[in-house]
């Protein structure tokens, strides 16, 4: 707006007009800015409201449970027989944790290995093939994975284990591992690609082999990104329902072996919630399980956030 106002009058005229025009445009921009600011503010508030309502609703119904039974009974009893008023969820909690752990044990080495392949080793044509394929895998509905597990994986497991059913933690973990694999792999891939080139060059200059560069330099440098990839995969594994329901057996008991039919928090909720009366202890305890899952994913997301912050500080 520092247009000159002195000099020839004609010139001054035009510059004055220019200033006016600029002011007009400036005002218009300001208006646009404030409108979009309110729009974004409104959007974020609406989102917060909905999220808050979900948490409040589930939490409220869930906490009603403890007016009927004690927290010890719910969290530490292994006896889930709702028909006879026994609401012990410990078996589901332990099973959920062990299923998630088993899934990660299977999925992480494979997916990180694939990420290394994608980012460091594979030629360009292979990369441009693997990456879209992995992205596609994310788009397959989980029930399809579950159905394949039921009709293809279970008969196979039955044959190699000699069990009658084959349902259980191992079957569920294998299906889940396939489902979280693309997530973990693609995010680790990005983390590895983001490692600066100079690190590798320096390592090679010191005479490292390719394997040494990958294991000693690239992976440690990308470790935070890989960890957040693993946690993201974990949140998916913890909350996944439809695929698990079809291969886990849905028997409310603690999994003593990999092939014992068992049940986790998600599968138990989906199997029973539609057959339960609205205002019953049973319904409240299912809500409590849902609330627990919410808390677990909340904690996992917090961990990702903290990791992200540390990375930025470093």
């Amino acid at each position: 707006m520092g247009a000159p106002v002195h000099g020839l009058s004609a010139k001054a005229q035009t510059s004055l007009e220019e200033v006016k025009r600029n002011t007009k445009r400036h005002r218009r921009h300001l208006l646009g800015n404030s409108i979009s600011r309110y729009y974004f503010l409104f959007s974020i508030l609406a989102l917060c409201l909905v999220l808050g309502l979900v948490i409040v609703f589930i939490g409220k119904t869930a906490l009603l449970l403890f007016t009927r039974i004690s927290p010890q009974d719910f969290f530490f009893s292994f006896n889930w027989t709702p028909e006879e008023d026994a609401f012990g969820a410990a078996a589901f909690i332990v099973n959920t944790l062990s299923l998630t752990a088993l899934t990660l044990v299977i999925a992480v080495p494979v997916s990180v290995g694939m990420a290394v392949l994608c980012a460091e080793i594979a030629p360009k044509w292979l990369k441009s093939f693997i990456r879209p394929v992995l992205d596609l895998l994310v788009g397959i509905p989980s029930i399809v994975y579950g159905y394949l597990g039921l009709t293809v994986l279970l008969p196979f497991l039955r044959r190699i284990s000699g069990e009658g059913l084959g349902d259980g933690l191992l079957a569920a973990a294998l299906v889940l591992a396939l489902m979280v694999l693309p997530t973990i792999c693609r995010i680790s891939d990005d983390a590895i690609v983001a490692v600066p080139r100079k690190y590798r060059d320096a390592a090679y200059a010191l005479g490292s082999t390719r394997l040494q560069v990958i294991m000693r330099v690239v992976l440690p440098a990308a470790s935070r990104g890989i960890i957040s990839a693993v946690i993201l995969g974990m949140t998916r594994a913890v909350g996944e329902t439809m695929a698990v329901v079809m291969v886990i057996g849905n028997t409310p008991q603690l999994a003593k072996s990999l092939f014992a039919p068992t049940s986790v928090l998600t599968s138990n909720i989906v199997m029973q919630i539609s057959n339960v009366e609205f205002d019953s202890t049973w319904n409240y305890s299912l809500h409590m399980m849902a609330f627990l899952l919410l808390l677990i994913s909340f904690v996992l997301i917090l961990i990702i956030r903290l990791l992200g912050r540390k990375r930025r500080d470093a």
Partner: protein
């Protein structure tokens, strides 16, 4: 102008008459309008959908929305006012094991649903008695050779507690006997479709399902106390595992809901589409 009006009226009447005769619609049909929501049992869902399609053709101004989940969601939705009709595989206006009666609801019989005990195709047994089934489901009989089959563990597949199929099967086939809860070879499935897949793909498995689902080569229905599971035996009274399907309503049904239920109960629907869907007309059991 008058002439034009007259002409319009005649033309309209002609059009309506022609449309009506083409669609086979009675002239009074159009006066009925409203919205009917049906919720509840998946077993009755095919019947409801077929009936809704036919009913909407007769009464184009009536909208029918139908969905299926568990049986007990039917009367619950009616209680909460979410649905006008709650489809349920048992009479929810009286107590059944596990579920208290829903007060103030009226049970309208709409169909007879036969159930069948099914086994995987590799199982050699083709007849089971009430006692044998009770033993199998209570976890006392665990090997097929105890009931005349090969030496192999029995894999018990059942529906989740609260499923209408399970309520009826337990009452009619197991004589109210228990179903084992925690065993190695015991599995729960969430729907009739899952049940069929699970029994079909698991060797030595036993389960139970609506008779209409018994198709394909992976599963076979076994005889119950020596009687084959088919509609004829249900009708002549020798096959005992069957139950009425109900439409639960809050009080006596009125308006469009009443018309719809009456349509489902009408001879035309019962003897026609309902039979084609392999349900059994209620009139067959009320002789």
């Amino acid at each position: 102008m008058k002439l034009f009006k007259k002409f319009t009226v005649t033309a309209l009447t002609a059009v309506i008459a022609v449309t009506a005769s083409f669609a086979g619609v009675a002239a009074a049909a159009d006066s009925l309008k409203g919205k009917i929501t049906v919720n509840g049992s998946t077993a009755l869902l095919p019947l409801t959908l077929q009936a809704a399609k036919e009913f909407q053709k007769l009464h184009p101004k009536v909208k029918i929305a139908a969905s299926g989940k568990g049986s007990v969601t039917g009367p619950q939705a009616v209680k909460k006012g979410i649905a006008d009709i709650g489809a349920c595989d048992w009479d929810a206006s009286i107590d059944v094991p596990g579920f208290k009666a829903f007060d103030g609801q009226v049970a309208n019989k709409v169909a007879v649903i036969p159930f069948a005990t099914i086994v995987n195709k590799n199982v050699g047994v083709d007849n089971l008695t009430t006692e044998q089934l009770k033993g199998i489901y209570a976890g006392k009989i665990t090997n097929w050779k105890e009931v005349g089959g090969a030496d192999a563990n029995i894999v018990v597949i059942t529906r989740a507690f609260g499923s209408g199929t399970r309520v009826n099967y337990q009452a009619k086939a197991l004589g109210g006997g228990d179903i084992v809860k925690k065993e190695k070879n015991y599995k729960e499935t969430g729907s009739s479709g899952d049940m069929k897949t699970a029994v079909g793909t698991t060797p030595n498995a036993i389960g139970y399902i609506d008779l209409v689902y018994v198709t394909g080569g992976d599963i076979k229905a076994v005889k119950f106390n020596g009687v084959e599971a088919n509609t004829d035996n249900v009708i002549n009274g020798s096959y005992k595992i069957w139950a009425y399907g109900y439409y639960m309503t809050k009080g006596q049904p009125t308006g469009a809901t009443k018309e719809f239920i009456e349509y489902v109960q009408s001879k035309k629907f019962q003897q026609g589409s309902l039979k084609k869907l392999k349900f059994i007309p209620i009139s067959a059991m009320q002789s």
